[in-house]
């Protein structure tokens, strides 16, 4: 399989009143064609920013992509002109946002919005694009699509809106879809439906998918590979089986222990990760996770760990070998 996306040493900083916030600090990963990648981490660890950086949608000021490369289909997206970038957005890379209630324009009909990328990128006429939009809405299982296309977003439920957003993303047959916490605002039953739909559609069209989430269950079920992020860095990456069966980084271990599992004893208590998420403007020296880490050793206080392979395709950024405790 060919590499679709390669992110190399991506750094996105925000200049705020509290100082320099290193939201994404040297993130590297790649994505194969047709693969589903999960980006996991707690709130504010730089998941969404790293995704927005791929599309160059970081508002400047205060945000800025300071360093790195994003190589997509052989081109570095951080170096191309704004017009070319615009051609990539929605056409080659689509993004699905986390708030379906607000991500549709309240004053335009749903059909009009779903047809917009078609008009822009495929030079379709308004009428043809609208007809195509109806087909797209049907493909995301919206009943009576022809009628619904004339409806406004407030006629839609949350799940329907998110499905409309998905159909909007699918419109131009992009090779990559970035779903930024696509299910946070929805009911649990709708969440599953939606993810099944997303997975099915991406599989059908051979698209790659990046799912950003803090829901480990979602990742386990839908992702081939997982990147665990903490304080703007990837602390562990591997196949979803590696991450679930054999977590190596103390943070990943902590995450796993803090969510219920089907195979565990019902009475077993969940163990939270102690402490607060780090202040990105004021990170501790050494490994950013050391204040909350029960495995921390002297070296963790002074030196920042780098990603090192544990296995083939499984990497972690930690000085301690968990199993031997050294």
């Amino acid at each position: 399989m060919a590499k679709l996306l390669e992110v190399k040493n991506l750094k996105t900083y925000f200049l705020t009143d509290d100082g320099l916030v290193r939201a994404v600090d040297g993130v590297s990963y790649d994505l194969e064609e047709g693969e589903t990648l999960g980006l996991v981490g707690e709130s504010g660890c730089g998941k969404s920013v790293s995704a927005l950086s791929i599309l160059r949608l970081i508002p400047y000021p205060p945000g800025k992509i300071v360093d790195g490369q994003v190589i997509f289909e052989g081109r570095d997206l951080l170096k191309i002109k704004e017009e070319e970038m615009r051609n990539i957005r929605g056409n080659h890379i689509a993004m699905i946002f986390q708030e379906p209630m607000t991500s549709l324009n309240p004053l335009l009909t749903v059909g009009r919005q779903v047809s917009e990328p078609l008009e822009i990128h495929q030079n379709m006429k308004k009428k043809a694009a609208l007809q195509q939009a109806v087909k797209l809405l049907e493909s995301v299982k919206i009943p009576e699509a022809e009628l619904r296309a004339q409806a406004y977003p407030h006629h839609f439920s949350g799940g329907m809106r998110q499905r409309a957003m998905i159909s909007m993303g699918m419109g131009c047959n992009p090779s990559l879809i970035i779903a930024d916490e696509p299910t946070t605002a929805l009911d649990v039953t709708v969440q599953a439906q939606l993810l099944e739909l997303l997975k099915g559609l991406t599989k059908e069209h051979g698209m790659s998918l990046i799912i950003i989430t803090h829901n480990l269950g979602v990742v386990a079920r839908y992702a081939n590979r997982v990147n665990v992020m903490y304080a703007g860095r990837i602390v562990e990456m591997g196949s979803s089986i590696d991450i679930y069966e054999n977590p190596q980084h103390p943070y990943t271990i902590g995450l796993m222990a803090s969510v219920p599992r089907m195979d565990q004893d019902v009475k077993q208590k969940l163990i939270p990760i102690e402490g607060q998420p780090p202040d990105l403007a004021n990170l501790p020296e050494g490994c950013p996770f050391h204040p909350r880490c029960k495995y921390a050793v002297e070296k963790c206080l002074h030196e920042t760990p780098v990603l090192e392979p544990v296995d083939k395709n499984h990497k972690k950024a930690c000085w301690v070998d968990i199993k031997s405790g050294k």
Binding site: P61, R86, R89, G90, L108, E116, I120, L147, M168
Partner: protein
């Protein structure tokens, strides 16, 4: 039921959407005062457009021997100091007010929307410099600026319209800008950026429709202000040159001179001006309430009680 039958029935169904007749219905049901204002506005509109047919005499046709005639069948509102028909002059004055009010407001709205959208959306240094200029401009008392500008370019309808339009646009751009900034932050604008919509298209397709209500409200409010401004300038002798009948001009020259001899000379134009400005303001308020999405629900069609009905109930309570 078969799928076909369902589809057939669904294609006949229509999604209900806001329309112009719907708006008028809501106006009358929920905002009776606004409807009253709207009717005044409509009368002004008709009077202005058909002034040539409605006025019994030409505005400057007078018989000096017929001066200060009291109201009579020939001259409904009497005649002025030169024997001209006041009624006809009021009608032509309406036309003038309408032309100046509409054109100046249209210019102001277009310019202020362009300034507001661009500065609000682009932001950064461009926004800062433009807004500091607006700040500085708003420190100047408008009437002084108006008088200075009029004395530079000279009196006349076209000059007046341009000056009022440009002056009005600068302050109004601030309101548009503030709304644009809130709309700009919404996720759907981010989503539009993420599907590769160009900046111009975002401005015209995504932001403009969402700020349209404030543009329309600003327009309806500014008309009254511009009519007043024209009357003020004409009153001060810097507006429309003499033989042409401006309500402000009619109030000042002969109106003031003969105030104690023949007060009707200033009462009629004054009354016309008051009613029109009041009506347009009421209409503008009602349009504001009906179009502002944030005000919907509470006092709109879902409140279960219209202004009129609650008024009736209040009266009944008082007389119980």
């Amino acid at each position: 039921m078969s799928d076909k039958a369902q589809n057939a029935s669904s294609s006949k169904r229509k999604i209900r959407r806001g329309s112009a007749p719907d708006f008028v219905r809501r106006l009358f049901r929920e905002k009776p005062m606004g409807a009253f204002g709207g009717m005044i506005f409509l009368i002004l509109l008709i009077t202005g457009i058909f002034a040539d047919f409605l006025a019994p005499y030409h505005y400057n046709a007078g018989d000096i021997s017929m001066r200060f005639y009291p109201p009579s069948p020939e001259h409904i509102l009497g005649t002025d100091e030169l024997g001209r028909d006041i009624f006809s002059r009021i009608i032509y004055g309406a036309q003038l007010s309408l032309i100046v009010g509409f054109s100046a407001t249209a210019i102001a709205t277009i310019i202020s929307t362009i300034i507001g959208i661009t500065t609000g959306y682009i932001g950064g240094k461009f926004d800062m410099y433009t807004q500091r200029f607006v700040d500085a401009w708003m420190c100047l008392p408008p009437i002084v600026v108006l008088m200075v500008l009029v004395s530079i370019v000279g009196a006349g309808i076209v000059q007046l319209i341009l000056i009022l339009g440009i002056i009005g646009s600068i302050g109004a751009s601030r309101i548009t800008r503030s709304v644009v900034i809130t709309v700009k932050e919404s996720v759907y604008v981010k989503a539009a950026e993420a599907i590769g919509v160009s900046t111009l298209r975002i401005l015209t397709h995504h932001i403009l429709p969402n700020i349209m209500y404030i543009v329309i409200v600003g327009f309806s409010m500014a008309i009254a202000g511009n009519i007043m401004a024209e009357a003020t300038l004409s009153f001060l002798g810097m507006g429309i040159p003499a033989p042409y009948p401006s309500w402000g001009g009619m109030l000042s020259g002969p109106g003031r001179k003969y105030l104690f001899h023949y007060p009707m000379l200033s009462v009629w134009p004054g009354l016309a001006l008051t009613i029109v400005v009041f009506g347009i303001n009421m209409f503008g308020d009602a349009v504001n309430d009906l179009l502002d999405p944030s005000l919907r629900g509470g006092i709109g069609s879902y409140s279960g009680e219209s202004e009129k009905r609650s008024f009736v109930r209040l009266i009944k309570k008082l007389f119980k």
